[in-house]
Point group: C2
Chain length 205, copies 2
């Protein structure tokens, strides 16, 4: 009946992780010190180690939490009966919502992953490569089905991921333009852009 799990500490650990994500984003993983993190949390530095194993572990948790969210969302989307365009729209909207809603974590996973230690570094990169390959496959299928025009799938994936990542810089202008409008604009713009690519390539070839 009694719960053996350290439920009581889980909450504090989550606070530490959240503060770490924020600190790592602002100062970078290496420049962020455990003493600074402790101050943000409200304890002395050694007390952190009652909840976490190491500084490295914090980075691992953040990076893989993000990676797993994207992976499982992609799996979910692939199992729907949507058209390719519909799938891409779901994926793009998910990226945008993550970028706007869990900014710290996404930023850290995007910029600080290189400080992961092995074997986590390799695992993370594999998961990422796999994610991109799945996106490419979805677009390839759209091309095959004549749902998308004859675009280069890699270029399309690059364009989508880059545009969404560009929202990092959007934070500054956040107040000027509603995120709802931004989301709709970006979705239509990205999907529309892919249909425009055909004409470009046709003229060249």
């Amino acid at each position: 009946m009694a719960k053996i799990k350290p439920e009581k500490n889980t909450s504090k650990k989550e606070v530490i992780i959240k503060k770490a994500a924020s600190l790592f984003r602002i100062k970078g993983f290496n420049a962020a010190s455990m003493r600074e993190l402790a101050e943000d949390v409200g304890v002395e530095a050694p007390s952190l180690y009652n909840h976490i194993g190491s500084k490295s572990e914090l980075l691992q948790i953040i990076c893989f939490k993000v990676a797993n969210q994207f992976t499982s969302q992609l799996n979910h989307v692939e199992n729907t009966n949507n058209t390719v365009t519909g799938k891409l729209e779901l994926i793009i909207r998910f990226h945008i919502n993550m970028m706007l809603g869990e900014f710290d974590e996404i930023f850290v996973a995007n910029h600080e992953w290189k400080y992961l230690q092995e074997p986590f570094l390799s695992n993370f990169l594999n998961q990422r490569r796999n994610y991109e390959k799945h996106l490419v496959a979805i677009i390839e299928e759209g091309v095959k089905r004549k749902e998308l025009k004859n675009i280069n799938p890699y270029v399309a994936v690059l364009t989508i991921l880059s545009a969404v990542r560009g929202l990092e810089f959007w934070q500054r202008h956040k107040k000027n333009i509603s995120t709802k409008v931004l989301e709709d604009d970006m979705v239509t713009h990205l999907l529309k852009g892919m249909t425009l690519l055909l004409q470009t390539q046709k003229h060249k070839k």
Copy 2:
């Protein structure tokens, strides 16, 4: 005695800067140690300080070299008699060429600038904000002249800068697609979404 002009050391200083750009890109500014840099250069760490003032100075040199290149290119473009579309094309091509040709320096200026010390940090951010404002102004003029669609200029600038920055990830696929094709595709793709002329010209022809 009279001050010896350090012309002889200039070359060595440039080697150090080049190696520093590469090291800062790979490991990040904080994780890169001066001992490691010294090893790359082929001397002991203290010997570096015969050529440079500090680690911070290296970051400053790299970041402002990049910033000044973009600023002066933009000034040059603004003084030409090109159409707005022509100006944007020149700017985009310059970004792409810089990204492909001076990858280390661009990457460091894009990712490690936050470790600049004041007042350099503020100067750098001001220069960058100014650059973006100039881009916005160019696009606003294009809209006013009916050369571009009635797009949100900030969104357009964000899209352009994000797409070009996305070329960082392109490095991996570098061998698969010719950079010339990539450059042309990206230019037309970015401009096509914005221009009015394409549609009207199509009807004329």
